[in-house]
Amino acid sequence: MADIVAMPKLGFDMAEGMLVRWVIAEGQRVQKGAVLAEIETDKATVEVESTFSGVVFKHLVTQGTSVPVGKPIAVITAEGESVDPSLWETGSSEGAPKGTQKPPETKPGVQASPEAPLSPAGSTSTPPIDQLEIKASPLAKKIAREQQVDLARLVGSGPEGRIIRRDVEAALKTLQLSPAVSKGKGTLPAKSASAAPALVFRAAPIPGDEIVPLNRLRGAISRRMTESKQQVPHFYITRDYQVDDLLDLREQWNEVAGEENHLSINDFIVKAAALSLRQFPNINASLVEGGIKRHGHVNIGVAVAIPGGLLTVVCRDVDQKSLPAIGSEIRVMAARARDGKVRPEDIEGSTFSISNLGMYDVENFAAIINPPEVAILAVGSAREVPSIIAEELAITRMMKITISADHRVTDGAEAAQFMQLLGDYLNMPLGLLTLV
């Protein structure tokens, strides 16, 4: 019996997804759980796993097509099985139709799709190789090779979705815009970032204006940030935190704990924020119909810069986890995000967010709240500054953090107290590291 794979819903606000690439070609065997295709949602490129085992009988959509959630995208059959096209042609678009629940009606005169002839059982069929390859012009491939751009992550604007020069050049532009340093002590993952732009003092020819089309991620960021900044009354509180103890402890830990257990400054902040949020449920909340929904779980979103935009990977129930576990989870998810292989659960369900630009030698900045959350932290760099301690001038390492908060839900005094408590936790890094 044939099974029909439908466009999955990969996020609560996902209406459609772009099928970027078929991983398994027509005629090839697929195991349940194997990656069948790659789908680009507003947020990320996600791998779609096959929900059935069998042979991919037919792709119902071509690469580069946007498909509404629930619409059939592929037919999987037992080896050698022939299928009536009416099975998917009449498939409804509301739910995910499943062949097993809907016996195929026999339509007189309609045969199995002629362009996808099934090989007889037992014989081996050769999958069309070009479906596994990326469609790009030779010029685009050459530029991509020279500039080390991963074509698999681009969406082509040429005929039949072919990646052409302008697509690669647009991607290169975006890459150059995303800041790129990895020398700081900061915590924003910088693996994907390329070298800092070279300094150019001489006047260069004035380039013409050009319009770079918004990709889905850029479009989603643009829409959501505009909504947030227009609809959410932000207020901001900045506080300076002395982080000498935290930095010393982190340094010692990283020396002895081994590569896989390395902690970033941000990991400490994530944990400290989660513990603080437990005591400030109003800030771990969302404004909903009829009131303020105080979330039971404390799920912290950590902003990760990726080429062309940013994603927020979500560490769940942070208050329940050890600091090394938190650090390891965030590291793994951030790597997936940078590789364009983020999973839906990596980026869904945050109740509070943290954006850290410490690695870029930033003194301070303010972030835009990520709805439906109520607040976000913007973390600057740890800097050596002159301080007065016990009436003596001393050098201390300080870090500024700014909270942006939704005034509809919380107020300045509450947010300031939260920031104070955050400081108390950051002053006790050993507690953050050892206690769960």
């Binding site: 012009s137 030779p138 010029l139 491939k141 050459k142 005929p159 072919r162 052409i164 020069r165």
Partner: protein
């Protein structure tokens, strides 16, 4: 510079070369007393006399054969074939004798022969009289094949062809005889086997020759109104084929449309496209597109004939498709 027609340009070239070199003479059907089927040699008979402007029987094989013989003995014949469709009758003389004698006899003799002929459709002359078999002749090593698209090129290249010691098929286009263009004053020649950038542009390279140069300019003008700047490369000569300006242009635009009046299969476009892929593969950003005659014997009916021949709109559409 003077604005003259293609007919005047070719006529001037012949006249000037005959004045310059007494070894140059013309032979062909109706070239003398009648002054040429397309009036290219009007007045020549009276001025140069029957010795140097010879009317021949209706026998293309004899015309080319006699011209080959004359060339071998040191004269510089310009044989006229009334249309290229009649060249098939003289095929053996053209491709087996003219193209090979110098080679087969170890270079003992030269063959300073020009065969002027006329091709092209669009004049309701029916399937057998409207062909563009340029590529067939360009297939043979040993024969130079040129087909200029402007009066200036026609004059300069014909003079060069007459002075050349090689056999050259000089293909004119019947619908171009009335086209006007600027032609330099005085004596000048244009080298054979050199393509040229006829119109600079940045977006798409159009590679073409002969009549389709004119159509490509019209297409370029339409496209320019949309902000699309095409670069036109005029091949001028099919053998030797000079790809340098084509490749140079293609490396800049990364996309090409090749326009020819003849059929697409095994045509000039096929050859140029293949060479682009061979030498500039890493610069290809879109598949090369060919615009050519539909694969049918050219209809007599005016409407059908126009549908079968490449039109300006076809070129415009092809350019949009590769962008």
């Amino acid at each position: 510079m003077a604005q003259i027609t293609m007919r005047e340009a070719i006529s001037q070239a012949l006249w000037e070369e005959m004045e310059r070199d007494p070894k140059v003479f013309i032979l062909g059907e109706e070239v003398g007393v009648w002054g040429g089927t397309y009036a290219v040699t009007k007045g020549f008979y009276d001025h140069f006399g029957p010795e140097r402007v010879r009317d021949t029987p209706i026998a293309e094989s004899a015309i080319v054969g006699a011209a080959i013989g004359a060339a071998l003995t040191g004269l510089r014949p310009v044989a006229e074939l009334m249309t290229i469709n009649f060249a098939f009758v003289a095929m053996d003389h053209i491709v087996n004798e003219a193209a090979k004698l110098h080679y087969m006899f170890g270079g003992q003799m030269k063959l300073p022969l020009v065969i002027r002929t006329v091709g092209g459709g669009g004049r309701q002359l029916g399937a057998t009289h409207s062909q563009v078999p340029d590529a067939i002749f360009a297939h043979f090593p040993g024969l130079k094949v040129v087909a200029p698209g402007t009066p200036a090129d026609a004059k300069g290249m014909l003079k060069e062809a007459i002075r050349s010691d090689d056999p050259i098929l000089f293909i004119e286009e019947a619908t171009l005889y009335q086209v006007r263009g600027e032609v330099p004053e005085g004596d000048y020649t244009i080298p054979i086997g050199k393509s040229t950038i006829a119109r600079p542009g940045r977006d798409v390279t159009i590679v073409t020759y002969s009549k389709e140069v004119d159509n490509s300019f019209k297409a370029a003008q339409k496209l320019a109104e949309e902000g699309i700047e095409v670069e036109i490369v005029d091949l001028r000569s099919l053998r030797p084929l000079d790809m340098d300006p084509v490749i140079e242009s293609f490396k800049k635009t990364n996309r090409a449309v090749i326009v020819e009046e003849g059929w697409m299969s095994y045509g000039v476009g096929s050859e140029v496209a293949a060479r682009i892929y061979e030498t500039a593969f890493d610069y290809v950003d879109a598949p090369v597109k060919r615009v050519a005659q539909k694969e049918v014997p050219l209809p007599y009916n005016r409407t059908l004939e126009a549908m079968a021949l490449p039109q300006v709109e076809d070129i415009v559409n092809a350019v949009r498709e590769v962008l």
